[in-house]
Amino acid sequence: MHWQSVSEFLAMGGRGAFVWGSYGVGLGLIALELWLLRRRQRSSLRRLSRLQQLERQKDRP
């Protein structure tokens, strides 16, 4: 193992802000994309099935 301690790992040789700033924002964006994707998927499905029901109701009478 390359690191002696957790704090050394976090410090990244004094450049922690840059390294973790990169990974934090990068992985954060990926998480955000996944969350948005899931939310869009849900809301889209809800909208589609509501529309479908509306159209069925119209066809019936």
């Binding site: 193992m1 390359h2 690191w3 790992f9 990244m12 040789g13 004094g14 450049r15 840059f18 390294v19 700033g21 990169s22 990974y23 924002v25 990068g26 964006l29 990926i30 994309e33 996944l34 994707l37 899931r38 869009r40 998927q41 849900r42 889209s44 499905l45 809800r46 589609l48 099935s49 529309l51 479908q52």
Partner: protein, 249 residues
């Protein structure tokens, strides 16, 4: 094998549904392995110290951002040439992910540049062309969102993706030339030869990004397909099935 069979949304939809979890799992595995090697196995760099570890995310994102634009251009050409709707759906499903990777490449590059070059931003040719690529992505997304009629959005997006793709190499070469014309060899990314562990970590991360893009774009394409094909019988049945359960798998 019949190419056109899979170009029909109806056959593509369930196939994509089966592929999404597979690619997602592969992406996660590659990412974990790559980051582990990158952070715990690879030694620190002789010149840059620890900060070089940004490279794994940076290069993976930079490669993906360029590759995705090419794929979008490819699907656009197919769509305009053969009139397959699915190609347009794929183009639109890819764009947000490409833009995101493009932004990540810029962001990580900027954060890397500060400790190594002493500035967040220099007007280097590669950096600049990456910035312009981000604008091309934004343009594509803004254009397709601004058009309400989906069929017009499809084709307009395809036209701008192709025009942009023709211009990407032109932009790249012109800014390279512009830059070297003025100030000779400026600071260039890379340069130090890489240890093979680092290379492994980098490749694994790039692979992770690749599988991630596949999974996300297929999932997005599935949603687009349902929205756009909802008047067809199979899609209506699918909506009824999933809508009734209230589950979005």
């Amino acid at each position: 094998m019949n190419f056109f069979r899979f170009s029909s949304p109806q056959t593509f939809y369930p196939l994509a549904g089966r592929l999404v979890p597979l690619f997602a799992a592969l992406a996660a595995a590659c990412a974990v392995a790559g980051l582990y090697i990158g952070f715990f196995v690879a030694p620190s760099d002789a010149v840059q110290g620890e900060v070089y570890r940004i490279i794994h995310l940076h290069v993976a994102a930079a490669w993906m951002s360029m590759f995705i634009y090419l794929v979008m251009a490819f699907w656009s050409a197919v769509g305009l040439g053969l009139g397959t709707r699915l190609s347009f759906y794929m183009t639109q499903a890819l764009a947000p992910t490409g833009a995101m990777f493009c932004f990540i490449a810029l962001w990580t590059g900027a954060l890397w540049g500060r400790p190594t070059w002493g500035a967040y931003w220099v007007w280097d040719a590669r950096l600049t062309s990456q910035l312009l690529l981000l604008f091309l992505y934004f343009g594509f997304i803004a254009l397709t969102r601004a058009i309400d009629d989906p069929r017009r959005a499809d084709k307009a997006g395809a036209i701008i993706a192709l025009v942009g793709a023709v211009n990407v190499p032109i932009i790249y070469f012109s800014v390279t030339w512009w830059n070297t014309l003025h100030q000779g060899a400026s600071v260039k990314p890379g340069g130090s030869s890489m240890a093979s562990v680092m290379l492994w970590a980098m490749l694994l991360c790039a692979l992770a990004a690749w599988f991630y893009s596949l999974a996300v774009s297929l999932a997005r394409a599935r949603r687009i397909i349902l929205e756009r094909e909802r008047h067809t019988e199979w899609a209506a049945a699918e909506i009824a099935r999933r809508g009734a359960g209230g589950r979005a798998d």
